[in-house]
Symmetry: C2
Subunit: 219 residues, 2 copies
């Protein structure tokens, strides 16, 4: 367990018992979904962009087209706020007031660093690709130098971060416990269905395809 | 089909063929997930907060504790950027470069309006509750005036908005088509499992619980 130092931006203002600043907890949330939402300031207004990512140690790698105006603004931003949210369940209470959701979320603040060398870019792109399917990078046609030139890769430090987690059933007031309505939880989860092979492909799907959704790689 | 007027903020800068400004398309994406990411500016830096929401006509309703400093800042923000992202599939190409995701996303800009009267607040809370399970509001213990006082309800207009959608298989270059690696798509979807009844509840789960995930209420 290593604690990440709290800052005024990452300190929970409410339901503090649901917060965590433990690095392993934050990493495990980051490793459970492949898409984050990147918040930045654009021409004076807030902007939020969903982006794929992969984690390697204390870095999150983002990528996109070198020519994308959004990517350029993200790379130039002094501060980004990156938010990750995984829905784990819907919580039905007796009272409307206590309806809730079970979730794991993480929020991070920091500045992204633009990767310059091909070696750095490849490290990030491999993390992004293998995050989706372990070992994929070894089997695909690797990027040409023209493709690398077209691709912006950013490394974002997981250093100013916190997690928030809710789990369990409804928390109704004692006076509502006999209200005549069902109360409980509906667990929800991202699930993959069988791979659909491209119609021009003659190669069967790899066997480790189900690793996309093993327990600790929950998407 | 009614088109929403494009603005410089909602015009797609890349992959424009994947964009849509059709109101019904945007509504159908908004109705397919219960959580959005709300971007705003806080003390000069970007902030992103995951929030539950429910849609009623051209309004998205958000809620939270009246005393939440985050909610207060969101309510006071001149402009919010709200982002919704639904992952539909992982796309495996022959080349690393053409790996992709299938998704439906929407982005909206605007100012949230704070609901003042109990009637307005209840309209929003009902939209939030019934979005998760149709008819739930009619069956639960409704909010007391003390609970309404503790709850901030915000209405956000879906007026400056666009959608972006990717579907289908990998789009490899012709020269890569014979590269010896599997290519195709793994569809993914949020799925609910059986309701878990609260241990102190003696009432069975309602029959319409499976409506949480029917085709057009995809979460």
């Amino acid at each position: 367990m290593s604690e990440i130092k709290k800052t005024s931006r990452t300190s929970l203002s409410r339901a503090k018992q649901r917060g965590s600043y433990d690095r392993e907890t934050i990493y495990s949330i980051l490793d459970s979904t492949p898409v984050c939402q990147v918040g930045f300031i654009r021409n004076g207004h807030p902007a939020v962009l969903p982006m794929a990512y992969g984690r390697l140690n204390n870095k999150i790698y983002l990528h996109g087209a070198e020519e994308s105006p959004f990517l350029k603004d993200i790379a130039a931003s002094e501060t980004l706020c990156i938010s990750v949210f995984i829905l784990d369940g819907l919580v039905f209470a007796r009272s409307a007031f206590h309806h809730s959701m079970n979730f794991r979320s993480a929020v991070m603040y920091g500045k992204a660093e633009k990767m310059v060398s091909d070696e750095e870019k490849i490290r990030g792109l491999k993390a992004l690709t293998d995050r989706i399917l372990p070992g994929r990078w070894e089997n695909v046609r690797l990027p040409t130098s023209a493709e690398l030139k077209q691709t912006m890769v950013l490394a974002f430090p997981v250093e100013e971060a916190s997690a928030k987690i809710r789990s369990g059933g409804p928390l109704d007031s004692p006076s509502d416990m006999d209200f005549p309505v069902w109360a409980g939880t509906v667990p929800v989860k991202m699930q993959a269905s069988s791979p659909v092979t491209d119609r021009e492909s003659k190669i069967p799907a790899p066997e480790n395809m189900n690793e996309i959704f093993t327990a600790d790689r929950n998407l």
